[in-house]
């Protein structure tokens, strides 16, 4: 038994065997023993200071936060998270983060553009940049043995870019291409418009370069933005499948060239407005939101539960969304095809919560009003305990499943390290979700119903109401 199973699983177990030099798992020899717990009666050599599944977080004196998890996977993933999202753009350099996103492969002080591209490809790795309204994330994946090579490129790109003027102006066609692709998607248009209408500053900045700045962002803008925002206190270095001490060394030696906190971003001011984007589309996309809560508060958790209570997307493909209150409520108002879900996004100092509807142009008003009536019903106390349990289970399920992929886990570790400097385990988060009560959820819904609304609509808007008419 042991021998046959052992041989067929030799290739997969080799990594575990190599990395777990200090322990030996005689898996097939013991039955009835849970594989998730360390084996009883095992003598550990003195070097094994930490157990397998811990996520280690350290904060260096320069402010840099280092987080890592040794998951014994054959592929490693390293991310540099920076608080340099588009909310930190100033009025004279709108769109600089869009260019920074595209500029990750440009020449740096240590490697030319050609070398970065071919060097990363030569080891079969990949270098990518994602940016959100708050953070910029540079990720590099590679095989475990090639971590040193790609780490060098990653550090070069994040700390020592040169932004040569001709390379930056060569990015203009790519900016235009990005914008053209974003224009194809109605959702992107509505969500960008929603933020633009909802806030006076910071969070109203778009993820995409505004049309008037395309071709006008110079190398100097990029340098200045990096100078002001890519400082050690605003960065986190996160690794999956790398040793914590290695990351710490890298962080101490290389990621501390710009110390301090850089320029502090302005506090986002919610204003509540409306934006209408008429187009020839045969569907009307509309979002009606109000200010919710900042990300780390318990109120934000209540809004997340409320989102799942009302309905946050399909759980069964091509199903009837039987558990979604919004879908069931709107189905009574119209027989035409539609879609509705709750919209919830939280940032470090503010958040937006509301509903997002997709409907036929003639019944857009009915759909929006029916959806809002459902939210009002929740605010008035029409929620049963069973509904709440179901919503909590769905939220927990979605959260835990997002941690299943290495991208999801890296992002969770990184954003938490950046914002809080520590990692909240999945169990803790599940407990916090369980502690959300009916009154919390009802209060969240009340806050939406009574708050100043922001609305963004796109499509054939003839029958779509204005924000003061809904």
């Amino acid at each position: 038994m042991k021998g046959i199973r052992g041989i067929s699983q030799l290739s997969t177990r080799l990594y575990a065997a190599q990395a777990a030099r200090k322990r030996r798992f005689h898996v097939a020899a013991r039955t009835g023993q849970s594989l998730a717990q360390p084996l009883a009666g095992l003598k550990l050599s003195p070097g094994a200071a930490h157990s397998l599944k811990d996520i280690h977080v350290t904060r260096l004196p320069s402010g840099l936060v280092i987080a890592s998890l040794e998951n014994y996977s054959p592929a490693s993933k390293i991310g540099v998270f920076v608080k340099a999202g588009c909310r930190y753009e100033t009025p004279d350099n709108q769109g600089v983060t869009h260019l920074l996103r595209l500029a990750s492969n440009l020449t740096t002080k240590g490697a030319s553009s050609f070398k970065i591209c071919h060097g990363v490809e030569a080891v079969g790795g990949s270098l990518s940049v994602t940016s959100s309204r708050e953070n910029m994330i540079y990720t590099v994946d590679c095989l475990r043995d090639d971590v040193d090579t790609v780490m060098e490129y990653l550090i070069n790109v994040t700390t020592a870019p040169e932004f040569r003027p001709w390379e930056v102006s060569d990015l203009t066609p790519r900016v235009k291409m990005d914008k053209a692709q974003a224009a194809q998607s109605a959702q992107i248009g509505v969500i960008e418009g929603l933020h633009e209408a909802a806030y006076k500053n910071a969070l109203c900045n778009s993820l995409y370069c505004p049309t008037h700045m395309v071709g006008n962002i110079q190398s100097g803008h990029l340098h200045q933005f990096v100078q002001n925002n890519f400082t050690s206190a605003r960065m986190a270095l996160v690794g999956l499948g790398v040793d914590h001490t290695v990351l710490k060394q890298v962080g101490e030696q290389f990621l501390n060239i710009r110390s301090g906190t850089g320029t502090t971003g302005a506090k986002a001011q919610y204003r509540g407005g409306e934006i209408r984007l008429p187009s020839l589309s045969s569907l009307v996309h509309s979002a009606v939101v109000s200010e919710s809560a900042a990300a780390s508060t318990s109120e934000a958790l209540a809004f997340s539960v409320l989102q799942h209570l009302l309905g946050a997307g399909l759980h069964v493909k091509r199903g009837s969304c039987a558990s979604s209150k919004l879908v069931q409520g709107v189905a009574k108002a119209t027989a035409d095809p539609f879609d509705v879900s709750a919209f919830n996004s939280s940032y470090s100092d503010s958040g937006l919560f509301g509903i997002y509807t997709i409907s036929q142009p003639a019944v857009a008003g009915d759909v929006i009003r029916a959806a809002l009536a459902e939210v009002k019903a929740v605010a008035d106390g029409g929620v049963t305990a069973a509904d709440l349990t179901r919503a909590k289970a769905q939220l927990k399920g979605q959260f835990l499943m997002s941690l299943e992929t290495s991208e999801g886990l890296l992002e969770a570790m990184g954003t938490q390290a950046l914002v809080e400097g520590s990692y909240c385990s999945a169990e803790e988060v599940s407990k916090n979700i369980d502690n959300v009560s009916l009154t919390d959820v009802a209060n969240a819904a009340k806050k939406f119903v009574t708050g100043k609304k922001t609305m963004a609509s796109s499509g054939n808007l003839i029958k779509t109401p204005f924000v003061d008419e809904i």
């Binding site: 030319s112 050609f114 070398k115 071919h118 040569r164 003027p165 001709w166």
Partner: protein, 110 residues
């Protein structure tokens, strides 16, 4: 360089250089040395990279030189480009272009 050798040798070399510079004659129609480089693909790429002000100055000097050459004239002596003022503005960019091309060729050989 000229620490042990007599100063006279340094001055001699400089004199030879200046003599050769005026012998070449492009300074008489107001050009700099980098204006006269043959435009192969490396130089074209380097020209794409220089700052706009320098590019415009280069274009002006070349136009003026073409005009003078057509009229079979040269500039008055006080307007000739002096050896000390001749700035190798294109050379850094050109060297960078050549270095990048060589890196690419090195890589492709492997």
């Amino acid at each position: 360089m000229a620490s042990r050798a007599p100063v006279a040798t340094g001055r001699l070399l400089l004199g030879v250089r200046k003599w050769y510079y005026s012998l070449c004659g492009f300074n008489k129609i107001g050009l700099m040395r980098d204006d006269t480089i043959l435009e192969d693909s490396d130089v074209k790429e380097a020209l794409r990279r220089i700052p706009e002000t320098q590019y415009n100055d280069r274009m002006f000097r070349i136009k003026r030189a073409l005009d003078l050459s057509m009229k079979q004239q040269i500039l008055p002596k006080d307007q000739w480009t002096k050896y000390e003022e001749d700035e190798r503005y294109l050379t850094p960019y050109l060297e960078e272009v050549i270095r990048e091309r060589q890196e690419m060729e090195e890589w492709m050989k492997r």
